[in-house]
């Protein structure tokens, strides 16, 4: 095994250039080194001007999503040796405006997230003194998968619909809405219906399925969206057939 590998980093420095440029760095190729270790090596030893986000380096905080050789990846959980002998191309996540180098602007998602009301909505809140809302392990399993989202944005980066239709709510936001819709403690599904069933919601999705392929936590947002389509369509038929009072 060679002892070095080339990282081709796509850099955008708003003060210097209009267009991003590729800059190559040689970093040590070592067992257990993630792409992220390569990037911190560059930052610490070769070029302090390289900007990227990272924090937990254990695949749970969702900071370090980037495009590695064309695929959206958590760079802390993607290893240099898997790309040997290289070179490895590291780009910012696709489908987001780039602020600088590998740092993208996820403000759009942060603005959309509250619109799907991702919190427990109850008709009547019980006081905590009365104890927990009971929930069996089976009821927990109904939504558990969709609660695993770390908001890393890899699904948005993989989604061509989001690229073409920036108003699209997107995979993670819809999956999180479904996470609450399917939670036995929640009674807010009807409050989320308008936004989810809007043209920017589930109906914009053409089931490319790339969001689920990209998801590092097996959340399967594509499934969340398809399931909600079926729910919404059934609901629409019911609304159409039944008089208002009988719904």
């Amino acid at each position: 095994m060679a002892d070095e590998i080339t990282l081709e980093v796509v850099r955008y420095r708003p003060e210097l250039r209009i267009e991003p440029v590729v800059q190559s760095y040689q970093v040590p190729l070592r067992e257990h080194w993630a792409i992220l270790d390569g990037l911190t090596y560059i930052k610490d030893h070769l070029d302090g001007t390289l900007s990227f986000r990272w924090s937990c380096r254990m695949g749970i905080c969702g900071s370090c999503g980037m495009t590695v050789n064309g695929d959206p990846q958590l760079t802390c959980a993607t290893f240099l040796t898997d790309y040997a002998p290289g070179p490895v191309r590291v780009e910012p996540l696709r489908n987001f405006p780039v602020i600088r180098d590998l740092v993208v602007d996820i403000g759009d998602f942060m603005d959309k997230l509250p619109t799907v009301k991702p919190w427990v909505i109850r008709d009547v809140d019980s006081p905590v003194e009365e104890g927990e809302y009971l929930q069996t392990p089976e009821e927990l399993d109904e939504y558990k998968q969709f609660s695993m989202c770390i908001n890393c944005m890899l699904c948005y980066s993989a989604c061509p619909v989001y690229a073409l239709e920036p108003h699209f709510l997107g995979p993670a936001a819809i999956a999180l809405a479904q996470r609450y819709n399917l939670d036995s403690r929640d009674e807010g599904a009807s409050e989320r219906e308008d936004i989810l069933s809007s043209p920017e919601g589930i109906w914009a999705c053409t089931f490319v399925g790339e969001c689920s392929a990209a998801c590092p936590k097996d959340v399967d947002p594509a499934a969340a969206i398809q399931r909600y389509k079926l729910t919404a369509a059934t609901q629409a038929i019911k609304n159409f057939l039944l008089p208002r009072g009988a719904r």
Binding site: R13, P14, E15, H32, K43, D44, H45, D47, G48, T49, S51, F52, R53, W54, S55, C56, R57, M58, G59, I60, C61, G62, S63, A77, I99, R100, D101, V103, D105, I106, M110, L113, P114, P118, W119, V120, D125, S126, V128, G131, E132, Y133, L134, Q135, T136, P137, E139, L140, Y143, K144, S147, M148, C149, I150, N151, L176, Y180, D183, R185, D186
Partner: protein, 581 residues
Amino acid sequence: MTASHDVLVIGGGGAGLRAAIAVAETNPRLRVAIVSKVYPMRSHTVSAEGGAAGVAADDDSLDEHAYDTVSGSDWLCDQDAVEAFVHEAPRELLRLEHWGCPWSRQPDGHIAVRAFGGMKKKRTWFAADRTGFHMLHTLFQTVLSFPEIVRYDEWYVTKLLVDDGRTYGVVAIDLATGRTETITASAVIVCTGGCGRVYPFTTNANIKTGDGMALAYRAGAPLKDMEFVQYHPTGLPFTGILITEAARAEGGWLLNKDGYRYLQDYDLGKPEPTPVMRSMELGPRDRLSQAFVHEQAKGRTIDTPYGPIVHLDLRHLGAELIDAKLPFVRELCSKYQNIDPVTELVPVRPVVHYMMGGIHTDIHGATPIQGLFAAGEVACVSINGANRLGSNSLPECLVFGARAGRAAALFAGLYGGRIPPAVMAQGRDEEDRLERELTRHLDGRERIADIRTEMQITMENGSGIYRDRDSMVKAFDELQELQARFADAAIDDHSRTFNTELVALLELSFMLDVAESIITCALHREESRGAHQRTDFPARDDERFLAHSLVQREPDRAGRRVRYLPVTITRWPPGERVYGR
């Protein structure tokens, strides 16, 4: 530029989010804001795995939780704080349940609890082994339901504005644009978490650089019990990624190179096939990490390129239990270590995990500086004393985050009003200083990373699991030297747009201050207690040191002063820490 709020929370992790909600609930008219250097859901609470303690089972009692915590702390906690804590923890955990936290359940739908180190009863609530992740996201998503809570995401606070013993806000940089801003507030709550990155090998995320501790320290607030640094016994070599204590609570064993459960040699009980509370692998973290050092001295650890290790054996638990209760452990082992704990031994070694010490607060989260509050790992109330029990820190974030939020709301409601001109001048000075930081190091010769690495090695050598006077004096001198070299540190990056190197520079300067406070307190405490083990003073000395150390900068900022504050004892007089017998 300036912005103004009634209550400003620094940090968007478990404590900060809980505090912000408490403010909004206490007084909805208050303008509350959260400033965080990362998006809240990136905060390090996300990495907590094992669980959160709160009495829930019928056979358990608040007194038992309190006693476990007090004895776990080696009697250095304040017992009034512990009593308040154990009393409010279950309620806070229930509240989180009502907010949607996906706690693991019993078949009948009630909350499930698991065993944990140093706890006599099962009382640790858990969401598989991603408890912190689920708690953080639940809190964050709940915060979204409060439109009155304003967020400054990816803003980095560089200074607390304090005048005449009272706080008036902060100066912060908007990372995306590089704009600096003075943000005033009647009350400020510091919830920035710990400082594990002061050490070379830590479970802590890259962001855990002790910012809040240093901010308060520089503003004249005392830091408390900084010598108590918790080493978690089971981190993965190289990365330092945490393998949760829950792995042992579910029945995992620690084996030395002979496959021997070595903890039985260290007064931690006899090996039994199934876990026994407060015994063996379920002993407290300080004792387990110390046992590792002794095993290493006896040559019974295994050498690897990433240091000596022992083995965590989960194989006998079976795939089904591991997948149900420890799925994240399996994921982490396979991803970062290329092993499957179902069939293979997990290499582990002690790793810096948690700061028992922090900003000195009372049981309402108030610091001696008026209007300045702190909660979570950054604060020291203290419920953790000389050694925190696993699964007490998550409920601590909730209980004391909420308490600090309520107290800050009360304070802001009473003492709002005019900002003295001196404070605005301070703000402008700080903005000027940041401007200079961006350019002044043009011709610097030192690299940030080099100074940081040397600081980390210095801290490991000077104040590791075992310390003595000589090593600490040496470390203290080295830190002074590093401070001097820091003045000559260069930055390559002079951009205003998302300048992470400038942040790294400011973080390093914070870390150097925190490191200094740790060594200073450790030097002064001439005894061994909990996580502070001195080879030159091997015994606990209640006569002199049943007291919190408080380290504070002299007003001229040149020196530092250490004094002692007696521990509050209500019901449990100091006794022997007994585990496994």
